[in-house]
Amino acid sequence: MSEIASNKALESAKKDQDIKGHMSESREKLSLFLNNRLGMFGLMLVVLFFVSAIFAPYFATHDPFLMDIPQRMSGPTLEHWAGTDQLGRDTYSRVIYGGRVALKVAAIGVSISLFVGLLLGMLAGYGPRWLDNFLLLIFDSIRSFPTIVLALAAVALLGPSLELVLAVVIVTSIPGYARLARTSTLALKNTEFILAERSLGAHPAIIMWRHIMPNVIGPLLILAAMDVPVVVTIEAGLSFLGLGVLPPTASWGTILNEGYLVIRDTPWPIIAGGIPLVLTTLGFTFLGEALRDVFDPRLRKGK
């Protein structure tokens, strides 16, 4: 009896140790991340991006559509922190509300393309050879269009709208995720635990979802963080050209578009409309690189 009891104690002690080992590993990763100054700075900017967009009404000092013609095109004042545009609207408040459009495009665009890319990538990697070749052909064809040219062609056919911007973003980002998922799936396909699953007769869908997906998704999430600024820039660029979100909606692109028309009268809308784009790009880039350093030990060693 005592033997069994001691065995059990031993086992539970071992388990404890395992859990502790696991804990310390994740704690190590956390401290690595916390000690990465650029990463923390990036995280701050990213949080600012989310919070200012979600709670825009609390951050804004004015109604973004309220016109005040006598005060049009003023420089920064105590009342208008970033000046006013050609209709006397408060540029700071418009920039804050513009963050909502950026967040919407980024959240919807990145999550859909991440999901579809993951699915197609795993199918290409795990499925039959012909499917792989077929999907690769499609990914390469999409990649051979410069994004803006594809967007221009789509606008010519369907007219400008936020939905079209989203569609362009999704179509052009899927191949990136899919290729990454495909490469990792190919590497996993012939590992022993997948072979074991297969010989036990598990359904391919179960294998892909339960066993391949968790091993593949990490790098994709990091790519997603790095992809957000790309997506935000596409939206702003198209809206700047008048082919994305249309005025009077406040978006960073439309602010730049309207500001560019009055560039000789006031520089402030152009300056204020561009800064959030730069900050968002910096934030997500630093965050993505910090995450990559933490979760990819091979790169860490190489440093």
């Binding site: 990649r143 051979s144 269009f145 410069p146 994004t147 803006i148 040219v149 594809l150 221009l152 062609a153 606008v155 010519a156 056919l157 369907l158 007219g159 600024p229 820039t233 702003a236 660029g237 700047f240 050209l241 082919l243 730049l256 560019y260 560039i263 000789r264 520089p267 152009i270 300056i271 561009g274 784009l277 730069v278 790009t281 910096l282 880039t285 630093f286």
Partner: protein, 286 residues
């Protein structure tokens, strides 16, 4: 699809149904889509990209006129970026953790973080509107080389700026890797001068990933050129597509998009060929 219907755009609101039907038949618009596509591809293979809806001008001629502007812009942008970025990356890899290395690091992140269209706008604001050093629009008088160069500086600066940081980073990383290889150590042990080692042995290998990168990145280079052409009102494929999108001139858009994609595939192919020419390892694996 009424507002975008190619027949009503080409003929205007006052065309009679008979004229519209005749036009649709002439342009094969009454046939199934796949048939239209095959006819289009057949014509493309014979060098015929169709005709401008309004002026009936051959799209191929228009392309031949506009393409040189875009290629000039793209080449001068990547050219100055390479001239600055590659030496910067190289130097910071040879002297890691010095002020130069840190400066390059900040510069790379900074230049990558500003989208090229924003660089264009801010450059116009600073150099054209405030300082009045640079012209804002056009490509300069034809025949006047100096004027054309003057008009090229700002767009090329704007399109290339992000690439400076990108190339510097890439060259730094691959140079660091190469300098740690055994054959470099052997070269050192043989007593070769460090300049010989760097230029004849290390840089030659470290530059290879950069060439592939330029090939793959040519698409985003073209995207940048499109923005710059529109913002600076410079002639070129990008400006052409933009103008034609606004007036819904479908044949020109079709032709221009096809030429752009073809150009991209061509450049990627050239980059691959150059890499396999320079790198025996790649050549043998082909």
């Amino acid at each position: 699809m009424i507002p975008g219907d190619p027949v009503s755009i080409a003929l205007g609101p006052r065309a009679t149904p008979e004229i519209q039907a005749a036009y649709a038949a002439k342009m094969h618009l009454d046939k199934p889509l796949i048939y239209q596509f095959l006819i289009f591809m057949g014509n493309v293979l014979q060098g015929d990209l169709g005709a401008d809806v309004f002026s009936d001008r051959s799209v191929t001629t228009t392309m031949a006129e506009q393409l040189p502007f875009t290629v000039t812009l793209a080449v001068s942008a990547i050219g100055w970026a390479a001239l600055v970025g590659i030496p910067l990356g190289c130097l910071s890899a040879l002297k890691p953790n010095t002020w130069l290395d840190r400066f390059t690091g900040v510069l790379s992140v900074g230049t990558i973080a500003i989208p090229s269209f924003l660089v264009s706008i801010w450059a116009i604001l600073l150099f054209s509107v405030t300082l009045r050093w640079m012209p804002v629009i056009g490509a300069g008088e034809s025949g006047n080389i100096l004027d054309q160069v003057h008009h090229l500086i700002l767009p090329a600066f704007a399109v290339g700026l992000g690439w400076v940081g990108y190339l510097a980073r890439m060259v730094r990383a691959s140079m660091l890797e190469v300098m740690g290889e055994n054959y470099i150590r052997s070269a050192r042990a043989f007593g070769l001068r460090s300049r010989t080692i760097i230029f004849r042995y290390a840089l030659k290998v470290a530059i290879l990933p950069t060439i592939t990168l330029i090939g793959i990145g040519f698409g985003s280079l073209l995207s940048g050129a499109v923005f710059a052409e529109i913002i600076f009102s410079r002639p070129g494929i990008g400006k052409l597509i933009y103008d034609m999108v606004l007036s819904r001139n479908f044949p020109v858009i079709q032709g221009a998009v096809l030429v752009t994609v073809g150009l991209y595939v061509f450049v990627t192919l050239i980059a691959d060929l150059v890499v396999s020419w320079l790198d025996p390892r790649v050549r043998d694996s082909l």
